[in-house]
Amino acid sequence: MLNEKLKLHPKIFDDAPEAQPLRAGFGEGLVEAARADKNVVGLCADLTVSTRMDAFKKEFPDRFVEMGVAEQNLAVTASGMAAMGKVPFITSYAMFSPGRNWEQIRTTICYNDRPVKIVGSHAGISVGPDGGTHQAIEDMAIMRVIPRMVVIAPCDSNEAKKATIAMAKSDFAKFPTYLRLAREKTPLMTTLETPFEIGKAYELWRGDNPQVAFIGCGPVLHNTLKAAKKLSEEGIGSVVLNVHTVKPLDEEAIVALAKEVGAVVTVEEHQIAGGFGSAVSEALAAHHPVPCEFIGMHDAFGQSGKPEELIEHYGMGTSHIIDAARRVIGRK
């Protein structure tokens, strides 16, 4: 059953759920964060509209810097601005930032301890028709390995908005942070009333006598919820945990759930190697090893296609998640 306390979206299981792109929530959140703190500034590498920084640029033209197609200097310049007390948000496609500017992020932002907020849009294979060059499916892996970096992968537009605001003003404001966004409209699972705290995992679904835990992040949690519902109709109980903060990981919630349920399926729109599932299994291996199955990209590049086609082709559809659950229960 959906967790009533979280005030989740009433149309989650509709045939046509309400949908918004993650980047839209970011755009709204950035304007709010900027209204609250005059030190919030925005830098963009020639993708202002498609990363949804345009509303910020319109309201705060003097706090916006157009960088041109120069992602390395995007990171470096933001570091310099942070050195003078600014809270810079930098945007591009995830493939280019943090894809192209990893060393600059490591040295000038994280090693330098500057609170730059790296916002990578168009992550995942659901970018669709643009094809494999533009589908960032390694970004969480390369960001979570850098000391100090906070990594957030919101599940929907509302969560992206809350994450953006929290990055600028919560206890985490002083940390460099990576926010992972996506291009396409994806179903709303949460509402603006749903609680959000960086570093805290939320249980979206809990069935009777759960036998398997789905631990996931990002929009593919919608397929996961559909899988949980379908399994419950077949009498198999499960729990769905939304771990929007990939780092620092809510190990307490993850380990407690693994102890209770005894089998885990991780779900992400990202390479299995080094990504979210790896982070979860590091925590489980250290504290409470249980059988795990991993939904995500298995050492492959994407290709052009419709988002839903690609999600199915690469094994992240509802049926794949159900199959993984059955497999992992069988391994208990």
């Binding site: 310099g80 007390g85 040295t107």
Partner: protein
């Protein structure tokens, strides 16, 4: 205008800095020799004459910012800062040792009086550009702060450096002053063999910078060039400082093989390894008067 007495003072400090560089590299047993020696005059001028700063209050908000981009020449920055009073000169001997403030390449976490951590090349200019943009957002074009970016010639090979140069030109950052250590060497050899930079002046001009070229060991000429750079309107400035790598030690001067080795581990065709430290310190001390007199 810099007085004769001040030139004498800054030149003496530069020689003391050179001796400290050799001493600290001997103690460390690794590190870069040629570049730091070549930049001693410029560092001495900046810290003892040009910069608005307070060694006893490094976090003073109104200070000028000095960003060292090519972090591998940090022995010259550490030695200069010690002589300027940021920390005891004695501490220079901890260079590159476990737990030292003086990391092999600068790290703010260990030495918070350096503006940036650096080492991976190409990223200093962009950080100085970001600082200058942020300053203008807060205090407008009349801000009294200046932002100095110290660059190597070799790092002009890096694409990110030109991204930053382009942005600075676009942003008309008049209070940004880059100083290029044009010493013509990099690790693999002579810059013009490895990746030709000339016409370097024309390249910077094409990026909408005000460009000057000076002898990087002539303190009066350097001071004049910095004065002109400060007065330029609506453009960032670059001073291409022609320096001699290894300046002050004839066996090291202009020899790219001394780019990355300390005394005791450098080329042995002129001086055996076990004599290098001793000979170099002796040369610096005996040549002191000659070098100090070169700044007119």
């Amino acid at each position: 205008m810099i007085t004769d007495e001040k030139i004498q003072f800054v030149a003496e400090k530069a020689q003391a800095i050179r001796e400290s560089i050799i001493e600290m590299l001997i103690a460390a047993g690794s590190g870069h020799t040629a570049g730091p020696l070549g930049m001693a005059d410029i560092f001495s001028l900046l810290y003892f004459h040009t910069l608005k700063h307070d060694p006893k209050n490094p976090a003073w908000a109104e200070r000028d910012r000095l960003v060292l981009s090519n972090g591998h020449i940090c022995p010259v920055q550490y030695a200069t800062m010690a002589h300027a009073g940021y920390f005891p000169v004695e501490e220079l001997k901890t260079l590159r040792k476990f737990g030292s403030k003086l990391q092999g390449h600068p790290h703010r976490e260990y030495l918070d009086s350096v503006e940036v951590s650096s080492g991976p090349l190409g990223s200093g200019l962009g950080q100085a550009v970001g600082m200058a943009i942020a300053e203008r957002m807060d205090n407008g074009v009349t801000s009294p702060k200046f932002f100095y970016a110290l660059l190597s010639d070799g790092e002009h090979d890096c694409g990110v450096m030109w991204e930053a140069a382009m942005l600075a030109g676009k942003q008309h950052l008049h209070n940004l002053i880059a100083i290029v250590d044009r010493n013509n060497i990099q690790i693999d050899g002579i810059t013009e063999d490895i990746m030709p930079l000339e016409p370097l002046r024309a390249k910077w001009e094409a990026f909408n910078w005000h460009v000057q070229e000076v002898d990087g060991h002539n303190l009066r000429a350097l001071d004049t060039a910095i004065g002109e750079a400060k007065s330029v309107n609506a453009k960032p400035s670059v001073i291409i400082a022609h320096t001699v790598p290894g300046k002050g030690i004839p066996e090291i001067e202009r020899d790219y093989r001394w780019h990355g080795d300390p005394p005791g581990k450098g080329p042995t065709d002129k001086i055996p390894a076990d004599k290098q430290g001793e000979v170099f310190l002796h040369e610096l001390r005996t040549l002191r008067g000659k070098i100090v007199g070169e700044h007119e």
